[in-house]
Every structure is written in C-alpha cells, then in structure tokens.
C-alpha cells in the first residue's frame, strides 16, 4: 500500500527547491520546530505544503516570507500549534512503535553484523556465527542511544530557530553529542564482558520483520485514511 504522506513529502521536497535560500532556511526552521509539538505528522506536512505555496507566491510578488507570516516565526508557529489538530493516542503509539522498530532495529543489525565479523575473523565460518551474546554493554548503550536520540531530536526541534542563529546553542549541541557518543563507547568498553544471555540471531531478525510489517501496514493505513478524509 502506498503511503500518501510520503507522496506529499516528495512533492513538498520538490516544490521547496524553488524557494530562495533565505525562505528555505526559515521554512526548515519552522517545520523542524512544528515537529517538536504534538501536532499530527500528516497535518505538519499539509502545513508545509501551504507555507511553501505562500512563500512561492510571495517570491513572485517579490516579497519575503516575513511579509507573509510576520517577523516572529516562532510566535507564528506557536499559533499554529495552538490551533492545529493534536495527535491522537493511537498516533502517538504508532509513532513510538515506528521509532522502536526502525531505531531499535538499526542498533540490533549493527550488533549482529559486528558480532558476525568478530566471530568469522576469530573462528572462521562456524555455527557460532549465529549466536548473539547480549551483554550489559549492549543493553546500556541500546537504552542510552534510544533515550539520547529522543533527547537530541527534542533539543534540535525545540531550538530550531536558536540553532540557526546562536553559536552557543550550536556549541552546546556539539558538546552534548560528543559526551553521549563517548559515554556509549565507554559503556561498551567496560560492560561488554558481562554477558546476560546468548540468543540465536534469527530471533531478533524474525521479531524485527514481523514488527516492521505490522507497523508499516498500520501506519500506512492510518495515514491514507487521514489523507482521504482531510
């Protein structure tokens, strides 16, 4: 089933290329900021389409985006957030599952590939290549990576306007990111020797495939229903 939100996003990406550099920067900050809110994802993409349209028409009238939405972009976005449709509980759960399946899946696949390379380089191609040791290092870094990814996303989206303008915010972002990256590296280094359990790599792969199919079908169906009734 095609996802109509993806189609809309592709259309928006294409239209956005016609924007001036300045309008493009402003619009990106606005959309990133809107993503920090609890506005419905599909509605944000619709708002993006409308704002691109307004900006393009303003360009044709030889005006900037600021003459259309005012100088205070954050206040304009706050008005949209206040007045727009909020995510339902079902949409929040779907989004959470999406992050778990794709974010968690990526971390598991990294672990599986790393383990296969290590086993093959030490023992050659044996049956033990299918064994995946789950260490405390992996569990700690897995939880931290998910939490920090969420933290970084929240920080970037809530501070999108400041990150474009303020060097302090950029500095804080880089320092924070480095601390997280080094912290995860240390947790792997110190805790990887403590093995909780060893599982067959086919188990997480099977769980991921089932999770992926279920989340994709539910998500696409919901977004298409929204697109039809919008």
């Amino acid at each position: 089933m095609a996802n109509l939100e993806k189609t809309l996003r592709k259309e928006n990406n294409l239209s956005e290329k016609q924007l001036t550099k300045e309008n493009n920067l402003i619009l990106t900050d606005m959309i990133v900021y809107l993503h920090s809110s609890n506005l419905c994802e599909y509605d944000i993409e619709i708002i993006r389409k409308e704002l691109i349209g307004m900006a393009l028409e303003a360009q044709l009238r030889e005006e900037g985006l600021s003459t259309v939405v005012g100088e205070d972009y954050k206040a304009f976005c706050d008005e949209l957030i206040k007045n727009g449709r909020k995510k339902t509980s079902y949409e929040t759960v779907l989004e959470f599952l999406y992050v778990v399946v794709f974010g968690g899946g990526a971390l598991f696949f990294y672990e599986i590939i790393k383990n296969i390379i290590m086993v093959v380089s030490k023992k050659g191609l044996t049956n033990s290549v299918l064994d995946l040791p789950i260490s405390w290092g992996f569990v700690v870094s897995f939880v931290c990576a998910i939490l920090f990814a969420y933290g970084i996303f929240t920080f970037v989206s809530k501070n999108s306007f400041e990150l474009t303008d303020s060097k302090l915010h950029k500095f804080l972002f880089i320092v924070g990111f480095t601390i997280i990256f080094v912290g995860i590296g240390f947790s792997r280094y110190f805790f990887d020797r403590f093995i909780l359990s060893t599982i067959n790599i086919l188990i997480p792969i099977a769980i991921w495939i089932v999770g992926f199919i279920v989340v994709k079908i539910l998500s696409d169906k919901h977004l298409n229903d929204l697109a039809r009734t919008h």
Binding site: Q18, K49, E50, G53, E57, T67, V69, F76
Partner: protein, 109 residues
C-alpha cells in the same frame, strides 16, 4: 496599552467565515478582502492559524486547486456547521455592537 489582538481574534474568525460564505476563496484573497474592508494590520500569517482552527472545528473545509501563479492553492468552503456559526456570530455581533456603542456614547447626549 490597549491589546487589540484579543478583540481581533474572535471578530476575525466571524469575518473570515463571512468572506468564505460569500465565495469559495484562498488565504491571500481572504486577507486582501479583509484589508479592503479596513483590517489594515493583518497579514496571511494572522489569518492562517485561524483558518487552521476553523478547519479543525469543521466550520470550513478545503481542497487544493491549481493556481495560475504556479503552486497549488488551498481553497476554503464553508460547511453547514460553519453557516450556523456565522449566523450566531452575526446575531451576537449585532447585539454586542449596539450594546458597546450605547455604553461608549454615555455622556455624549
């Protein structure tokens, strides 16, 4: 200092409903029409969040249509609930404006 925005917000919603009731139209045209009637301070940025709000409350609906200028425009229509709300607004505004005018005329006669 007198805060115009609080008074404007509710009034503008009613006026936007009236403009959309009179013809199917899009954001920029709504703004131009409101300006031509004397709302000189407003921009598309003022009315767009209100259009989002009216649409969320199902008082208006919309569809994208091609524009001669290039990008598709979102055209707005009034719904049945929107018409009911507009009539209520017209009645209330008529009564409110008479009341406020009487008060503001106090001591002038």
């Amino acid at each position: 200092m007198f805060d115009k925005s609080q008074l404007m917000r509710g009034t503008l919603e009613g006026c936007i409903l009236k403009v959309i009731f009179s013809e199917v139209t899009y954001g920029y045209e709504i703004m131009e029409k409101l300006k031509s009637f004397g709302f000189s301070d407003i921009s598309e940025g003022t009315i767009y969040p209100l259009l989002v709000r009216l649409e969320k409350k199902a008082l208006i609906s919309s569809e994208f249509r091609p524009s001669p200028l290039g990008p598709n425009r979102k055209y707005y229509f009034i719904t049945g609930d929107g018409e009911d709300m507009l009539h209520l607004f017209e009645e209330y505004w008529s009564s409110l404006s008479q009341t406020v005018n009487r008060i503001l005329n106090l001591g002038e006669n």
